[in-house]
Amino acid sequence: MDKKRATIVLGVIGSDCHSVGNKILELYFAKRGFHVVNLGVMVPQDEFIDAAIETGARAILVSSLYGHGEIDCAGFRERCVERGLEKVVLYVGGNLVVGKTEPEIIVDKFRKMGYDRVFLPGCNLGEAAELLRQDLGITEPLDPE
């Protein structure tokens, strides 16, 4: 089980204070067997990257709830590459844009920004964890819910 205890960094980007989903995500991914470094809310891009480098995390899970996701999340992939995290898995989720928007448009926008997967508020965390397992090439099954 320790083999799959991959480290992931979690946080809410920008000036965003929405802490409830973040606390739930931390608990959830920990329960499923990941080693979660949770930076909490109001996390600048570089703080995510610092933490990932420091802890050797293989994935960064970015949340944005408050609507400024489009601005705050832009350039994150490039910055990761710049700072040497070429291979880090980048997920993003939440209420990513201002205003109710078609899911496809949102997903497309953030995929183009370089996020590997894009999650909307109602997403199933079980599925997200399973995808993360696959994307990280973990072969053992996750811990039970």
């Binding site: 920008g14 000036s15 965003d16 204070c17 929405h18 802490s19 409830v20 973040n22 606390k23 739930i24 608990l27 909490g40 809310v41 109001m42 408050y66 609507g67 400024h68 489009e70 601005i71 209420n95 844009v97 201002v98 205003g99 109710k100 928007t101 508020p121 109602g122």
Partner: protein, 485 residues
Amino acid sequence: MVKANVKISRDEFFRVRGEVLATWPTGAAVASLDEGIRRQQALPAHKQFARAMSEARRKGQTLLQPRAGVALVEDHVRLLNYLATEGEADLLPTTIDAYTRQNRYDEAANGIKRSEEAGTSLLNGFPAVNHGLDACRRVVESVDKPVQVRHGTPDARLLAEITLSAGFSSYEGGGISYNIPYTKRVPLAKSIRDWQYVDRLVGLYGEAGVTINREPFGPLTGTLVPPCISHAVGIIEGLLALEQGVRSLTLGYGQTGNMMQDVAAMISLRELADDYFRRDGHEDFELTTVFHQWMGGFPEDESKAFAVISLGAAVAVLSRADKVIVKTPHEAMGIPTKEANARGLRATRQMVNMLTGQKMGDDSAALRREVDMIKAEVRCLLEKTRELGGGDWAVGAAAAFESGVLDVPFAPSIYNRGRLLPVRDDEGFVRIYQPGNAPFTPEILAYHAARLAERSRTEGRSLSFQMVTDDIYAISKGKLIGRPM
């Protein structure tokens, strides 16, 4: 022990004021307080917020107010007018964007620029500081209702200077309620101090005969907050505001979803606040209340959202709220379009109109018991806070959060202990599951525990964080209580 809850002297106020206005170029335009006072004095009666609240209270009405704000001035004006006409709103807001709330005016400037390019708002509110005095005047002058600034800003001094000078006649927030749920690293002593400045500013307008309405933010994190906690915070912020000369105070509360708890909460809030204010020697104030429709996660389905909105509207009236803050069918998804915002308002309007004057269970003994329970809980929290502050509410508040006497569930601030955990009981009342360091009496804790044991029994599972999580999701998944399938 420093005395912190004291009226800021004129001298000190104006000394600080110079610094505040210098923090962004648009500050210069409001240098003259007298001009702001003159603009406020020139506001017609029907655009004065305090007056509207006071009339609502006198007539037993519940006024409707949406939340709304977009990046660009003309769009914002159009939005507010739409909400007044198509939405039948009684009171208008100007919701401030999240960069401005963190005093990141350069990022707000970028948001404005990008919004102009995109032809649509990329900000989640109106960046009033960046737009400055003239744009804010344009907002106030273009609408025919009272307008309030609604935000979430720990240091809201410059924002207050600009918006009040422009004629906004109500200002939401407080040193605790706009810190703990809204930020991560702002020390409470700092945000309390900065909000004393705002209250003193309102007090200065007051000395010139202009009553600006002030509204502490009741719902805090909006997520399973037990009424006693938000009441304690609201009452402390009220006391701090009164000390600085605020006279028109609207205390708020966010719906939990259990009707009886919500009505009891509103009754106890009024009674407690009045009591605490008078006990501290305040006489010359007008207290009104605001009920927030469900502040936690909403269902994505718009029809279901309408039911959540409607229940909030119903309880607002049954609990005799003077004002109700209205959600929209887009809540779960994103900032509402003006149409969706107006739809939430119209549903609320219909419900409010249908129920106004109705009494349901006013004479209920069970209701009275809940009122008394909330009062007892709040007294535990406030008496300990008073003690910690040696009688000074500002000092006490900071100490209370440090020690976990006051503890807001799920808050992001590192200055909040985060050890208190709420969960719903078998009828959906939000109860204390783990008190952390909150100084409730054994009787109170036993009452909560007994009610929670009922739920444990019904569901055949013990209390756990899983149950709390289930409750957090419940309304968005179509239930009040997060029961296992």
